[in-house]
Each structure stands twice: as structure tokens, then as C-alpha cells.
């Protein structure tokens, strides 16, 4: 009888091969996402990143050696695997011994490891030895540079919908343009904000902002562009400096004492209870214009001082979240014929359901208000010109990349330089990428 003609024997061989594959026999398996070896004075370890939560108690290094290009092997002494704070998918394995200069990899095998509740045997990893830190820093900077820009840079909201304007003035304007025939019309609005950081200065940004609507009553006709210098200054410096002193290891010991760490925890908790975290000072120049193109541009100096809150925890049942705000305590806008004093605030609230069955997955609320007091008459008017903008979003479905919901946007008040009365309410569906601002 030939072997090829025996299905039972072939089935047995296939089963054995499958078992050997599952056993892994020291080969890297799918649970390991990344392995990186660090070799520097006072720092020699391998960081392992797994695809799921890893149990440090289950991980026991059984062998570790560096590998040369010519197959040369140099044994290293592995120490117990350590969990890493805030990184439950990672393990760190320190080692003794210095791999020869020509060695570029470290091979590490764990006898067993539990990842996402499943035990795996003989998990091995080959980690690239990181020696060129200058090159690595350049590479990290490049990868950080391609991530999403400031949220303000991509902040663009444009809507087009069928409806009627919300204000009496808007309805009258619309009726006049349609000879008094009261019909629904396609109206739209755009709220665009682009901000670019300066390549040379970390504090300098350039901006372009446009707010427009297709009918009066919802058209602020606001367009401004310019450059702004901004400096953030931390508050509570004494507590923060003390925190730094607590976390710094004393000169005669490589470790921070438990007492110092407890004090650091108490100081951090104290800082979290403070309402404000820092000052923000801004100064800049801008051109302000009528977005409809009917008026000439105005050049203005723009300066302000704000207080930035700490992010406050919001604890609704089953829906944790946060709230933060910035209070613009005072500012001035001054030009050749303009002099304004302004104050205002903006606030953000986000609540995200923790359970998977909640009907509303996520709720976002943003409010922005500013009041301008016209010291010199503009368009023959003085006094206070307020502006209020509210945006509320509720998301009902979400995938790992996209979320779907509804958005309500309210604008009310007057914006320079035209100061047209705006009172609009917009409601619509919203589809948003989850990237960056989860």
C-alpha cells in the first residue's frame, strides 16, 4: 500500500502539522504587535506590545539572546517581565549583558503569556536594537507630523438644506425677493476656520475664518484673516514645581521614594481640583471684511487675555465625560476708525456612553460667546454687540472609523464689520470621522 493512497495517514499528518503550527515552536505569533529593544547606558530592555491586554503574571521570559548578521548568538540574562503603567498591552523585559556592536536584533522567548484572556505558549519576538536615537527621533517627528493637525485647522462646517429662515427679518427678505410668494427655498450656511502654525515660531499662527449664510437673518457676513501670537502660561507654579521635585529621583538613589510618590499623587489631585490651569495671552493683527464683498477691508490690532480651565470630570450614570471652558476675561480690537473692548467664553462638554446598548452613544456640546462694546461708532452705532453660537451633536451609531448622528446649530447676535442681525437654527444629520477626537 502506498502512502499517497492512504487518506487516514494523510489526515493524521495534517493534524500533526496543524498542532505543530499552533504550538508555534518558538516562532513569532499573531498576538505580538511590536517588539523594540533599547540599549543605552542605564537602559537595556525590550518592550513588547501585544494585540490585547496582557497579563504580566503569566509572562515568564525563558530565553534571551542577541543576534549578529552572521548568525552569531550572544546570550543575555533576562529579568522578570514588568507591566507598564497606562499601557496594559505592553510588557518590559530588562536584561543584563551588552550585545556586541554588530548585533542588530534581540530574540526573546516567553514560556507562556496570557493575551486578552487566552494563554499562549512559547511566544517569541525578534526586537530591533535601537541604538541610533537621533535617527529614531527624526523618524518619530516625521510620523507625528503626519497625524491630524490642530482640530481648528480642519474645522470646517458647511451645510446646504431645504427650509425657511428662522427670523422674521429673514422671512421678510426672502418674501421680498420672491415677490411675496411664501415658498420654501434652498438655503445654506458655511462656517469655515483654517489655522496654520508658523514653521519658524511655535507661538505664531495664521488664520482665515468665514461665516456666511445664503439669506439675511442667517448671514453674519463675517470674514477675517490674519496672524496671531499666543503664549500659554501655567498657573499654580509653586505646586507644579513641587510636583517636579517629588517625581525627581534623589541624587543618591536611582528610585523615587514611595513617600515622595504619595506626595506627588496628592499634589496632582490638588491641581485637578483647581478651576483654572493657565493663562493664555494673545496678540495679533487681522483684516476684517464684509464676506459679501461690499465693504472695504479693515485692519485691526487684536489682543486678549484668557483663563483656561482644567478639564472637569462629568459623571452621569453610565456615561462618563468631561467639560472644559476658556474664559476670555478681556480683549481689545483697535483700528484706525475702530475701538472695541470684548469679553466672552467658550465651553465644550462631551459625554460618551460606557454601555453598548445605550441609545445615544455620544453627546457633544460646544458654546461660544463674545460681547463687543463699540467705543467708537461703527456704521453710526455704538454699544454692545453680542454673538452666541451653540452646537450640539448626538451620535446614535458608530463604527471604529465613523460615527453617525444629528447636529443642532444655533447662531444669534451680530458680528463685525457689518453687524447684521442673525438668528438662525440649523438642524441636520452629521457623519464624522472618529480619528483624533474620539
Amino acid at each position: 500500500m502506498t502512502t499517497s493512497g492512504n487518506p487516514r495517514l494523510w489526515s493524521l499528518l495534517c493534524l500533526l502539522a496543524l498542532l505543530m503550527c499552533l504550538r508555534g515552536h518558538g516562532q513569532p505569533i499573531g498576538v505580538l504587535q511590536r517588539a523594540e529593544a533599547i540599549l543605552a547606558p542605564g537602559a537595556s530592555y525590550v518592550d513588547l506590545t501585544f494585540t490585547g491586554l496582557v497579563g504580566v503574571a503569566s509572562a515568564s521570559p525563558i530565553s534571551m539572546h542577541s543576534l549578529g548578521e552572521d548568525g552569531e548568538v550572544f546570550d543575555l540574562r533576562a529579568e522578570p517581565a514588568q507591566a507598564l503603567g497606562g499601557r496594559p498591552r505592553m510588557l518590559r523585559v530588562s536584561f543584563s549583558g551588552k550585545p556586541p556592536a554588530g548585533h542588530s536584533k534581540i530574540r526573546l522567548c516567553l514560556g507562556a503569556v496570557e493575551v486578552a484572556g487566552t494563554s499562549y505558549m512559547d511566544v517569541c519576538a525578534e526586537a530591533r536594537i535601537l541604538r541610533d536615537f537621533d535617527g529614531e527621533l527624526t523618524s518619530l517627528k516625521a510620523s507625528l507630523g503626519v497625524l491630524p493637525r490642530l482640530q481648528r485647522e480642519k474645522s470646517m462646517f458647511a451645510s446646504l438644506f431645504l427650509g425657511q429662515t428662522g427670523s422674521r427679518a429673514g422671512r421678510q427678505a426672502h418674501d421680498a425677493s420672491t415677490s411675496g410668494v411664501h415658498t420654501a427655498a434652498i438655503v445654506g450656511a458655511a462656517d469655515v476656520s483654517f489655522v496654520r502654525s508658523d514653521l519658524g515660531s511655535k507661538d505664531l499662527t495664521y488664520f482665515l475664518r468665514l461665516k456666511r449664510g445664503s439669506t439675511s437673518g442667517m448671514d453674519p457676513r463675517n470674514l477675517e484673516a490674519g496672524a496671531s501670537w499666543r503664549r500659554s502660561v501655567l498657573m499654580h507654579r509653586r505646586e507644579r514645581s513641587r510636583l517636579a521635585a517629588m517625581l525627581a529621583a534623589p541624587a543618591d538613589s536611582p528610585r523615587v521614594s514611595p513617600q515622595a510618590l504619595r506626595e506627588a499623587a496628592a499634589l496632582t489631585a490638588g491641581l485637578q481640583r483647581k478651576w483654572f490651569a493657565g493663562h493664555i495671552v494673545e496678540a495679533g493683527v487681522k483684516l476684517e471684511g464684509d464676506a459679501a464683498g461690499e465693504k472695504q477691508w479693515l485692519g485691526l490690532l487684536d489682543a486678549g487675555w484668557s483663563l483656561q480651565s482644567t478639564t472637569r470630570r462629568v459623571s452621569l450614570p453610565g456615561a462618563p465625560g468631561w467639560f472644559r471652558f476658556r474664559w476670555m476675561a478681556g480683549g481689545v480690537e483697535a483700528g484706525r476708525e475702530q475701538a472695541r473692548v470684548k469679553a466672552g467664553a467658550d465651553a465644550s462638554l462631551l459625554v460618551q456612553a460606557s454601555g453598548s446598548t445605550a441609545p445615544i452613544r455620544r453627546l457633544e456640546f460646544h458654546a461660544q460667546t463674545v460681547g463687543r462694546w463699540l467705543i467708537r461708532a461703527e456704521r453710526k452705532e455704538r454699544g454692545v454687540r453680542p454673538w452666541l453660537q451653540l452646537d450640539a451633536k448626538a451620535f446614535f451609531f458608530e463604527s471604529p472609523r465613523i460615527r453617525y448622528g444629528v447636529r443642532l446649530s444655533v447662531q444669534r447676535g451680530r458680528l463685525p464689520p457689518v453687524y447684521l442681525a442673525v438668528h438662525s437654527i440649523q438642524f441636520g444629520f452629521v457623519v464624522e470621522s472618529t480619528g483624533g477626537d474620539e
Partner: protein, 131 residues
């Protein structure tokens, strides 16, 4: 060809039996390593944000949320304006890399970054200072 050297002693981690009857590896008993800046980053975030808590006295330090470094700054409530405050706080905690943090503020001050990516930058900047 160079001879392969064999190390002696404990390749395997020391284990103890816990109350649950399972073998546990002793955590964090290795040689003290140079700091990687992760604790300082977590504490800096927590000092600006109540939604993040850090227990620095535990070994390793514990965070709430537990997967803090897998999240983005925006995801834990740190906004655009707070990113520069975070950098200022980090400069206090890690004065040795303050110039690197300022020089790269433009790429670092983005709330869309994963905290782990920011932490990787800090770690490598600190490693450069060890040389």
C-alpha cells in the same frame, strides 16, 4: 568565529503562588532603569484633566483610564489650548528635554496624537540625554 557565551543563573523569572493559586511573576523587581518619561507624561495630563487619574505610588503606576496611552489627548479631554500647557508642565517635570519639547512644539501640540506616540518621543529624547 566568536564563541557563543552562555549566561548562568535565572533565565526564568522568579514566581510566587498568589491567593488565587496561580503563579505570579514578581512585578518590577528588575534593575532600576533610566526613566522613560511615561509617569511624567501621565502626571502632566492628570494635572490638567480630572478625567485622568494617576496613582504614582503603585508599581507600576496605575492610570484611570487603564489604557491611557492607547487614547488620544482629545479623547481624554485635552484640547488645543491645553496642549501648550501640557508641554509647559512637562518642561517642569523633565527639564533635561525642555529644549526638544519647545523645538518640536509645532508637531507635538496636537490633541489628535495618541498619547503613546507623544510618550515615544519623550522616551527617545531622554535616551539621547543618556549618551
Amino acid at each position: 568565529m566568536k564563541k557563543t557565551r552562555k549566561t548562568k543563573g535565572t533565565d526564568r523569572a522568579p514566581a510566587r503562588t498568589g491567593t488565587d493559586g496561580k503563579k505570579h511573576v514578581e512585578p518590577a523587581r528588575g534593575r532600576p532603569q533610566a526613566r522613560d518619561g511615561a509617569l511624567e507624561l501621565a502626571v502632566s495630563i492628570a494635572s490638567l484633566c480630572q478625567a485622568v487619574r494617576v496613582d504614582a505610588s503603585a508599581v507600576p503606576f496605575q492610570t484611570d483610564p487603564a489604557d491611557l496611552f492607547d487614547r488620544t489627548f482629545a479623547g481624554v479631554g485635552i484640547g488645543d489650548e491645553q496642549m501648550s500647557l501640557l508641554r509647559e508642565q512637562l518642561k517642569l517635570l523633565l527639564p533635561e528635554i525642555a529644549p526638544e519639547l519647545d523645538e518640536n512644539a509645532r508637531v507635538l501640540d496636537q490633541p489628535g496624537h495618541r498619547i503613546e506616540a507623544y510618550g515615544a518621543f519623550i522616551r527617545v529624547a531622554l535616551l539621547l540625554k543618556l549618551r
